[in-house]
Point group: C2
């Protein structure tokens, strides 16, 4: 089956090969990507059975999709456009050819949707549990500034895409990486810091605050709550949004007037919400309570 699977992989990943000119793709020791005047963004993320998914519950297509989607989310958080990927598969011995194909189909479909060319990879059978990884490259105009985790400025607004919480009820597998949003905003608006909420809104805000050497004030009732939590009690909703993790929404900081312009722009492809502001570093991470007073926010997230 190894040979059949490799042949299938070659055939199907070449389907994803548009005309942007991979010089050498799958089948050689490495892929060759032509030189370019844009900067290359590179990110890698691997998901593993029992930690990031459960094959007894989740479909192989969605598991494959997630492996690529988490990488796309990182590329979006860099203000970049995804271009090329290499895959890593550690398949348990009991995996059938059909199962390996299902896994890859989920990746290939999402790759095609975002114009990602899969240029290589490494597949192994082993006695361990399923591991699916990808390294994703993207292009970022050399002229683009900001879109870095350390680029928040005091008095920036904190803007998030989508909604938060309850991702374990399915969203952590089926989320839409915010590539379209990033590509729409990156060329048009002055974005300072950017990251994606992978660990949790509170943990990733803390990473952003530390990297940028700033504080953050969140307004609790402004945090957009996912539909999965809409029927829960208010405190459960807020805790879920702050701590559940794996929302894969973008967290952006920008001047208030930039966000006013974005709000008035009908071309913005998804919901954006102002949830607070960047403050001086000594204030740390805070959140308003129901009376509107700020208290320290202790970050935590989903422990895989």
């Amino acid at each position: 089956m190894e040979h059949d699977f490799h042949k299938w992989l070659r055939d199907h990943s070449s389907l994803n090969k548009p005309n942007e000119g991979v010089l050498v793709g799958i089948g050689d020791d490495g892929a060759i990507i032509p030189g370019s005047r844009a900067d290359t963004v590179i990110t890698t993320d691997t998901i593993a059975e029992g930690t990031h998914f459960d094959t007894s519950v989740h479909s192989l297509e969605l598991i494959g999709r997630k492996a690529l989607a988490v990488n796309l989310s990182d590329i979006a958080a860099m203000g970049a456009s995804p271009t090329h990927a290499v895959l890593t598969l550690l398949l348990p011995h009991h995996f059938s050819l059909a199962e390996a194909q299902q896994l890859c189909s989920g990746m290939f479909e999402l790759a095609a949707e975002h114009g990602v060319t899969i240029v290589g990879g490494d597949t192994n059978r082993w006695s361990g549990k399923l591991v699916v990884g990808a390294t994703l490259m993207g292009q970022r105009p050399t002229s683009l500034s900001g879109w870095l985790i350390n680029a928040a400025e005091t008095s920036d607004r904190v803007i998030v895409s989508g909604s938060f919480g309850g991702s374990l009820q399915g969203h952590h597998l089926s989320f839409e990486p915010r590539i379209k949003l990033a590509n729409y905003l990156a060329g048009r608006y002055e974005i300072h810091a950017a990251t994606d909420a992978s660990d949790s809104l509170s943990l990733d805000l803390q990473l952003l605050a530390r990297a940028s050497k700033v504080g953050v004030d969140l307004i609790a009732e402004k945090i957009p709550i996912s539909d999965a939590l809409k029927t829960a009690a208010a405190q459960t909703q807020l805790d879920g949004a702050l701590y559940d993790g794996e929302d894969f929404e973008l967290i952006l900081t920008m001047p208030a007037d930039v966000f006013e312009q974005i709000k008035a722009d009908p071309g913005v492809p998804c919901q954006l919400t102002d949830i607070g502001k960047i403050t001086p570093p000594q204030q740390g991470l805070r959140i308003s309570d129901s009376q509107g007073a700020f208290k320290a926010l202790i970050p935590r997230g989903y422990v895989h």
Copy 2:
């Protein structure tokens, strides 16, 4: 320990950051590598406990080293110079900080030796076995031709670096990836096909022959035998050289007169041996027997 390990990783991989200008490195969602007029070569390889190494026998430094070395070998086989890497680590829960550091030290040392900047990665703890992977990028002059697995031409000589066989006696962990050789030859000589012998000399020759649509005639007694097998019986030596695998030597094809020039060049950094020639495709893969007659060579390799 997670936090301590990440801090240590950041501190130590920045040691590997020379001045070629990574715009953004570890700590953000992705790394940014400046645009370049050279082509980018990308390769990925992952090694796993029980399949590619055994932590009860092999040191963690050597395991880490191997994870990067197998990728360097692929970059060499593309005639490229390695530049940047991202790492993937799946660490068993019982791993200590010191063990994680040992693993990475082996990678970092080899990275520094070859001028590779580690620009990011993904580390996870999990309930499975140790997995260590890397995606490695390199630069290849846009003007370089050949150095592809499908570029062999009929009547080329088949040239290999180093020696073959017995790699399980230690060489599969400590081998020297042939970066220096590749970089020396790539600018100076007309090389047609190139690949590295990772699965086995016979299997990788078969891949090269299939990709190039050619046959190969090997002269059995010319195949260089590794020191590990020098005391074995003649047939054991030959079988080891053809089938053991994980030698990670380069297999190159080139016109006979090019190899004559290379043999006379004192700058070539390692032993090169002419082991046969490229033939028309219908002849397939053959090897000379002790009487000098050719018989079909059935490729096989080490099954992990």
